[in-house]
Symmetry: C2
Subunit: 337 residues, 2 copies
């Protein structure tokens, strides 16, 4: 490993003091930096010798890191798709920030204590993509860090973002009404309707139904993946009056679609199916399954934006930000042309 070039090396070569080099190279717009001749010489030498500032020195001096932390725990307690990650990194990069992943051992209480984050100050702010409700202990540990904290996937009043699940369900419901369906059901096999986002979706459906003055039916259950085909069979045997279904996960929606195919139930004439997706799976079906698409990339960008804004004005917390889904209409709810 070759010894790296420092500001002093350049200063020596040009024949000025290190401070001058610092000002010229990183001084920003301050006019009083150096006279043109020297400035150009410094830049030239820096480029020639491949000078790269040593961030640790800057950090130590400035007390700022230009880095935002992301707290990651067990894989089933956070949600951070590749697209969201890309959006986040892109947004942060525009202000020269990087993102640092901190692994929190265990799922619950000792979460933060074990991570290097709490032992060594390393970031200017922290992003938390947890799905589950944070423990009191985590919250108090976070407070002790004295840095801004932004929550993804959480409907807190301040410093949080969330996907507009209610709006997504409402949008699907409205679409089905528009297509002429009246007996609309909502099916959840993933957890008895207990998840926060499922509850929000149900609220959206209630609201849409009220707006249109129509009814709807809820079918909430917890059924293991392996047992879903049988559950769907039974559903189609007994719920003959259902015209249209909003299925809470695309994977369950696929089971409905495939079972309907096998039973020669016509899609969408006999049964319409709509669901929720990240945009990469709804169209891996024939016909496409009409879906509310999660704005993953925009979610990342928006998170970055929020963190940066928060860092500009550290004292002031920001109101909850809500991201809308996008409707993708497929042959599962509208007859193809």
């Amino acid at each position: 490993m070759k010894k790296a070039v420092t500001i002093s090396d350049i200063a020596k070569e040009v024949g000025v003091a290190p401070q001058v080099v610092s000002r010229v190279l990183h001084g920003g717009k301050s006019t009083a930096s150096a006279r043109k001749e020297i400035r150009e010489q410094i830049k030239e030498v820096a480029a020639k010798r491949g000078y790269r500032p040593y961030a640790a020195g800057q950090m130590l001096r400035k007390g700022t890191f230009k880095s935002v932390g992301i707290l990651i725990g067990h894989a089933d307690n956070f949600l951070l798709s590749q697209l969201t990650l890309a959006g986040l990194a892109e947004g942060l990069a525009e202000k020269e920030y990087t993102a640092t992943l901190f692994h929190a051992k265990g799922q619950s209480d000792s979460a933060l204590l074990d991570s290097r984050l709490i032992t060594s100050k390393l970031t200017d702010a922290l992003i938390i993509p947890y799905i589950r409700k944070p423990s009191r202990r985590l919250i108090s540990e976070l407070k002790s860090l004295h840095i801004p904290v932004i929550w993804m996937n959480r409907r807190s009043r301040h410093d949080a973002l969330h996907m507009n699940e209610a709006g997504a369900a409402e949008m699907l419901f409205n679409h089905l009404i528009e297509q002429g369906y009246r007996d609309i059901g909502f099916v959840d096999y993933s957890g008895n309707g207990e998840d926060t986002h499922t509850q929000e979706r149900i609220i959206g459906i209630e609201k849409a139904a009220e707006n249109h003055g129509v009814g709807f039916s809820l079918h909430l259950d917890r059924i293991a993946r392996a047992d879903r085909p049988a559950a769907v069979q039974k559903f189609l045997d007994t719920q003959k009056n259902a015209q249209a279904l909003i299925v809470n996960s695309l994977s369950a929606a696929q089971i409905f679609l495939q079972t309907a195919h096998q039973r020669k139930i016509r899609i969408p004439q006999d049964l319409a199916i709509a669901s929720f997706d990240d945009g990469s799976h709804f169209n891996a079906n024939t016909p496409y399954i009409t879906s509310a698409i999660r704005p993953d990339f925009a979610f990342g960008r928006s998170t970055a934006d929020m963190v940066l804004r928060r860092l500009e004005d550290p004292g002031k917390s920001l109101p909850l930000r809500s991201l809308d889904f996008e409707l993708q209409i497929g042959g599962s709810t509208r007859e193809e042309i």
Copy 2:
């Protein structure tokens, strides 16, 4: 923002020199640290005042960051699932390393130059999850960083990991043979068989076919998602002799499954279907689609392991590491019991 507690603060309170505090708190196993009495007092005060070491100071002094960079570009040029990320962060955390995401603007040449990584030394090593072949310029820029570089998703001889795609295809082929199928076809609609991983899969199939002394057919094409249902219809019209298909993506496999359902083709008696998956989608079908499952989490762990090993011995590069898929058998290739 309250002023943070430093080593000197603790030293003052206990009445010793800062060095003593440093040795006691971070000295490792060196016996000659301080006498027991003082040691305990220091630890007590540190805990009481919530001391956290300031990493920038350590970095500057030690010249090491305890941080590994991950280079992220445009979302379609890298592959980093949430599970891989979790495995990576978990593995690094065991040695107290964190991972820092660096965004590379643009896709190709200016990749690294624009990122903060190349401008400020911040990491001890770099992980690159790019899918496409890196440009010469990127490679030379990486060399100029003088830190170890580990490639994910690339079959380079050294300092790289890759998924054993050939082995995965071979495994599926063997399974189909075992189930008694003889006319086995490989279908790719995603790019004429041009992708590296597709080519490797074909090699695996060739090898397995040779081992068993049987033939196979290749159906390579580039068909947009919207046109795949029609392509599948046509395929099933014309290729009546195909007994079993290995489909290059699960999304295309689903189209085959659903079209077969609609046409009353029996799965798996008339047609067996096998594919590749990350483990979360193959079972969102009825029947489950037999798949070679990518070991995403293990991939992350293995990458972490490789980087850490490389950092222990910076001079020595490591041989390519290959990760095996896992076979998940579903009703699409074997009649369910």
